[in-house]
């Protein structure tokens, strides 16, 4: 059942991606100042959104874990954070390439990029903490609290860095004014396949976690014999 969902999701994501690539490379009007590189935005931005969606899912599941003490929520929280980190890494590196072309430097202390980097460090700390705790219930409890702290911190980080950076002159992403609505549509359209892929990855990771739990249980049973 779950298998079929995963295949269905991946297939749908692939079809959508091909269609989106065709539209964004052939149909969409060019951005006057930047040339082709501008089209990175169609992956760069939805990747960030997907990452935050993952972190948000982890936040919700952490609260649910603390309320219900069911290790399944802990597993979802962990899987969503891992997948979120992969998307966040995609966002960061594509942002660097974009910055290299537009501003000539690999790293700008752009508020969004900096916030994402801090987020990445926060959640990398979450995974690091998980590795350091052996006992599963304790691990779930501690990392749920950390996940809640991290997620509450995210908006504060974002606004503080925004204010920090607006005090210094900053390069702008596109030449001021509103972005064309066809670009916006493309951003959202390309978000859908990324979400689907994230869901599939989370499901795979969850299945592995379940298999690990079963193996551990069988091993304990075998040793008890």
């Amino acid at each position: 059942m779950r298998e079929r969902f995963m295949i269905l999701f991946s297939g749908f994501a692939a079809v959508l991606l091909v269609r989106n690539l065709y539209v964004m490379l052939v149909k969409l009007p060019d951005e006057a100042a930047q040339g082709a590189i501008f089209r990175i935005i169609f992956f760069h931005v939805p990747a960030a959104w997907t990452a935050f969606l993952g972190f948000f899912a982890a936040f919700v599941c952490s609260i649910l874990y603390l309320a219900k003490r069911n290790l399944r929520y802990d597993a979802v929280s962990m899987a969503a954070t891992e997948v979120g980190l992969a998307f966040a890494a995609g966002n960061l590196i594509s942002g660097m390439i974009w910055g290299r072309i537009i501003w000539g430097i690999w790293w700008t202390w752009d508020p969004r990029l900096t916030s994402m980097l801090i987020c990445w460090l926060l959640y990398a700390g979450y995974l690091m903490l998980r590795r350091a705790v052996e006992e599963p219930s304790q691990r779930a409890r501690i990392s749920a609290v950390l996940s809640i702290f991290a997620f509450v911190d995210v908006p504060i980080v974002f606004f503080s860095i925004k204010w920090w950076r607006t005090q210094h002159p900053q390069p702008v992403v596109w030449g001021g004014g509103a972005m064309d609505s066809s670009y916006w549509n493309m951003l959202f359209l390309n978000w859908v396949p990324l979400i689907l892929i994230a869901v599939v990855l989370i499901l795979i990771r969850l299945r592995q976690e379940e298999a690990q739990r079963e193996i551990d249980a069988v091993r304990r049973w075998a040793h008890a014999l």
């Binding site: 040339g35 082709a36 990175i40 998307f87 995609g90 590196i93 892929i197 990855l201 091993r219």
Partner: protein, 50 residues
């Protein structure tokens, strides 16, 4: 379309997917570890059965 920086756009696209692929590779490695643990268990059980 405007073809300035086309290669860099390609790199940008590729890099997002590379991050995801790297994660998938880590998933595959974990899958392999699970498989090994399972085989070890099976062997353990067979030894016990004898």
């Amino acid at each position: 379309m405007d073809e300035r920086n086309f290669t860099y756009m390609f790199y940008g696209f590729a890099v997002v997917w590379l991050c995801l692929i790297a994660y998938v590779v880590s998933l595959a490695a974990r899958e392999k570890r699970l498989r090994q643990q399972l085989d070890g268990l099976k062997k353990l059980m067979e030894d016990r059965a004898k």
